[in-house]
Structure formats: C-alpha cells, structure tokens
C-alpha cells in the first residue's frame, strides 16, 4: 500500500492534485460568490474547441486549450460586461459552439485519438514535470494577484456597482476573474478533466462558504478541502483501479454529504441544548 508514494508518477499526481486544488479552491470561491458558476462551466466546455484545433494543427494541447479558453473568457467578458442579466444565453452559445468546434476538428484530423476522453475526464497519472511547472506558475500568479488586490476583489464581488462608484476598476477585476477561471480550467484538464472541473471548483467552496466568515478564509478552506478530496480520490482510484477524475469528484460529493449530515446533527444538538 505504502509503495504508491514511491512511484514517480504517483508523486507527480499528488503534487499536481494539490496545486490544482488550491487554484480551483481560490478561483472557485470567487466564481461562486460572484455567481459565475455557469459561466466557468461554459469556458471549461468551450476549451474543448482549443483541444480539437491543437490536435489538427499539431501544436501542444495545453497551448491550444489555453489560448481558446482565454479567448472565450475575453469574449464572454466583453459580451456581458454591460448586460450581466443576459449572460446565460451567451454562455450557452459559447459552451456549445466551443465543443462543436472541438468535435469537428477532431473529425478532420487524420488518425485515431484514443486519449480524447482523458481531456474530458482527466488523466492525473500522466502528469509530466512541465505540467507541474505550469500549475505551480498559475497558482503563484493567482496567489499574488488575489493577495495584492484582495480588498478590490472583495468590493467588486460583494457590490460591483458600489465598487465602481468608489473608483475601483470593476470591469478589469471581472475580466481578470474570467481569465483566472479559464486558466484554472486548463490546468485542471489533466487532473479531473474539463467536464468535471466545475465540481472541483464548487463542491469544496459550497462547504467553505458556510463555515467561514470572510472571503479570504473561504478561499483557504476551499483549497484545503479540494486538496483533501483530490488526494483521497487519487488514492481510491489507485486502489480500486478507477478513472481518477471521476473518483475525485465522487469523493468530493461524498464529502458534501458528510457535511450535510454533520451540520444537520450539529444543528439538532444546538436546538436541543437551547430548549
């Protein structure tokens, strides 16, 4: 059992899991409090278009997905910055069109592409050293920006109109948030895949939002919870020989159930002592 920690690929997988979990925990918290979950889902799915194009053009998959996701994020930002109420139609559009582009480009690319499923559901055991560097770089950038501009981000997230009136560039913050979501989706492709990444960005944050008193602690708690879920899921996938991405998500969902049960019991105890 302990021998799994000695394998190189397993060590890489665990480091990748932790790095991506913190990216997803931090960005996911911001996405949740800004009510942009559906939007992150749109960006995640549309980045499949980038994967298809990268396959066709013969460029690295992550470069293709990264560029495509960033462009989708900028497009959504531009379309929705004035009319946030119309955001869902645009997201639905970008979601479907991105995936369709991906499928078409895969069709016209000669050869058989057996590993396409791995982009949708993750292949954490195939993480390379350069993937790890990319993940670490993204986490560093996210930490730096969120820490430095925490007050501005907090103001825009809580009340963007008020923030604008106080001279905070809320459009810039909004666009950066979307770009952050796009990049997090791209680095998560290896770990949980682009379909499952939304769960990693929302399940830990759902729990964290309820147990914390500030956005800052919500981000930290989300990151820690996501890391725990990822590592447990990874372990489960190794022991039972399952797809890692799916295991991680199901472990997270189980974690959420446990939270519901524990908080219900806690509330019952609280009421009974009050009586």
């Amino acid at each position: 059992m302990m021998e799994i920690f000695t394998y190189d690929f397993m060590q890489n997988a665990m480091i990748a899991g932790i790095l991506v979990s913190f990216c997803a925990g931090i960005v996911g918290s911001l996405i949740v409090v800004n009510r942009m979950v559906f939007l992150a889902g749109g960006i995640a799915h549309s980045s499949y278009g980038g994967i298809g194009m990268a396959l066709y053009l013969g460029i690295p998959i992550f470069l293709g997905a990264g560029i495509f996701a960033a462009l989708s994020a900028l497009l959504i930002a531009w379309l929705t910055i004035e009319h946030r109420e119309r955001i869902d139609s645009f997201i639905g559009l970008i979601w479907a069109v991105g995936m369709a582009i991906g499928v078409l480009f895969t069709d016209i690319t000669p050869g058989y592409h057996s590993d396409l499923m791995s982009y949708l559901f993750g292949s954490i055991l195939a993480v390379s050293k350069s993937d790890l560097y990319a993940m670490a770089l993204l986490l560093a950038v996210i930490l730096l920006l969120v820490h430095r501009y925490y007050r501005e981000i907090l103001a825009v997230s809580y009340d963007s109109q008020y923030a604008s009136l106080r001279g905070i560039p809320s459009r810039l913050v909004y666009t950066m948030l979307l770009l952050g979501a796009a990049m997090t989706v791209v680095v998560s492709i290896k770990v949980v895949g682009l379909i499952l990444v939304i769960a990693l960005m929302t399940i830990p944050t759902y729990i964290a939002e309820r147990v914390t008193r500030s956005l800052y602690s919500m981000m930290i708690v989300s990151g820690i919870l996501a890391a725990i879920f990822t590592l447990c899921g990874l372990l489960a996938s190794y022991i039972f020989d399952l797809t890692s991405g799916a295991s991680i998500i199901l472990v997270s969902a189980t974690g959420l159930m446990v939270y519901f049960v524990v908080s219900a019991i806690y509330r019952r105890i609280l009421y009974s002592t009050e009586e």
Binding site: V33, R35, R151, A155, S157, Y162, R166, R213, S214
Partner: protein, 260 residues
C-alpha cells in the same frame, strides 16, 4: 434671497435625458443647499432612478448641467456617500460588517498604510478599525462589527450600508429607497438616524414613502419626467406646477398609488 448665502451642494439645471429615443427626463431643475434633507418622490417609471444615476455620474445628461459642490459628479466622487437600494444583496456572502464598512475606502481618512499593512490587505490596521468603529457607532451598530452581514436583519443591514457610505466622510449622502423591505420600526429608526446626521451632512433620498418624507425632509422634489420642487420648511406639502396644477398631500399619495 436667503438661499444665495448658502452653499450649493447639488445644482441641476435644464437637464434632459433619454434612453435611446425614449425621453425620461425633461428640463429638470433644482438646487439643494448644504445641510438640507431633500427627498425625491414620484411614480415608478417617472425617472427617479435615472436622476440618481445622473447625480452619481453613472449616466451623463443629454442636455443641461449637473454640479455637485460646483464640479461634475465624477470629479467629486469621494465627497458623495451612496447607499444603494436594499435589494438583491447576497446574504450568504462570507463577509463581516467590518469588511463592508471599510469597502472601497481609500486612505483619505485612515492615513497612509504602512508597508506591512499593504503586504497584508486582509488585515485592518488600528486606525482603520477605529474609523469603522466610530462610524458604526453613529448608526448604532458598533457591537455588530465582527458579525457576518448575512446574519443581520434588513434594517440592521441598511444601517451598516449607511455606515459604509459615511466612513469616507462625505459631504453629501445619497440614498436610494433606504427603507424598502424594512419593517415600520426599522424605517422610523433609519429616518431618525438620517435626520440626526443633518445639518453637518446634506441628505438626498429617493423614496416611495410619502409620510416619512413629509415628516423628515425639508425639501421635496417631485419627479415625473419633469421636476417640481417644494420647500417644506416654508409651507406644508402641496406642489404647484408650472401649469398651475395644485397637488395636496392626499392627492399626491393617490396619484403615486395609481401609477405604482
């Protein structure tokens, strides 16, 4: 004659505004002086919200001029405290009263932040905390400083929003329907609080609540595409329009009710 000696805070002259081609405001004209408690009333769709956006500099007038403290609204942004309408607040948001009160406050009244403070923006230094505490004291909410905002009642939350606007020490406080979704007791408390802030502060409130307006405000601006101003300190509410129409309070209430 007396008015000329007083400092003008808001001066709106001949303002027109249209969304696309639909004219919303026509020839709006009024002036508010320092220390006054002014209220804007009028039916829904009459242009109250548009007027507010113009005063905040979110929209620009098509014609005419808006001066706040003698400058354009955007130039004196830091002199204006704004309390938005109490709707669509995310009560689940993990944020404390202290965070809300300090929101968007530049260093103007809290001094320059040291390098250490700037390295940890999550922390508030003692000066900032004291500033937040004393502002919360003004609205009677100082004991709630570390509470999560979602745990407060509508009225309490609104008082925190007033504290947030006061924290930057503005000269003018603009409030949009400050007592919507708040029970009668909470409404009275908020209006009494606002009344207590004058005459050091000029207050401009948009409200549906005609009875509150007549008891607390000393100037009323009735906006329904055009504007009619009335000075309550000189005579009780009845507004004479340029066309010679004459509204008494009861008629106006009926009219507001009909068009609502």
């Amino acid at each position: 004659m007396k008015e000329k000696e007083r400092t003008s805070v808001i001066k709106v002259s001949g303002v027109d505004f249209a969304y696309d081609r639909q004219k919303v405001l026509r020839n709006i004209e009024f002036e508010i002086y320092a220390g006054e408690f002014a209220a804007v009333i009028g039916p829904n769709g009459g242009g109250k919200s548009t007027l507010l956006k113009l005063l905040l500099g979110i929209l620009e007038p098509d014609a005419g001029k808006i001066e706040i403290f003698g400058s354009s609204p955007l130039e004196v942004r830091n002199e204006i405290g704004y309390v938005p309408q109490n709707v669509d607040v995310n009560t689940g948001f993990p944020i404390t009263v202290l965070d809300v009160v300090m929101m968007g406050n530049k260093n103007r009244h809290t001094g320059r932040r040291s390098l250490l403070d700037r390295m940890f923006p999550i922390r508030y230094n003692d000066i900032e905390k004291r500033c937040a505490y004393s502002t919360l004291e003004k609205v009677g909410m100082e004991s709630f400083i570390d509470r999560k905002i979602g745990e407060l009642s509508g009225g309490e939350r609104q008082r925190v929003m007033i504290a947030r606007a006061l924290c930057a020490h503005p000269g003018l406080l603009i409030l949009d329907e400050p007592t919507s979704n708040i029970d009668a007791k909470g409404q009275k408390r908020i209006y009494t609080l606002l009344e207590g802030l004058t005459p050091e502060l000029t207050i401009f409130v948009v409200s549906h609540d005609l009875s509150a307006v007549t008891s607390y405000a000393n100037k009323v601006i009735y906006v329904n595409r055009e504007s009619y101003m009335h000075d309550l300190s000189e005579k009780p509410l009845s507004i004479e329009t340029p066309e010679g129409e004459h509204f008494c309070e009861v008629e106006m209430m009926q009219m507001l009710g009909e068009r609502r």
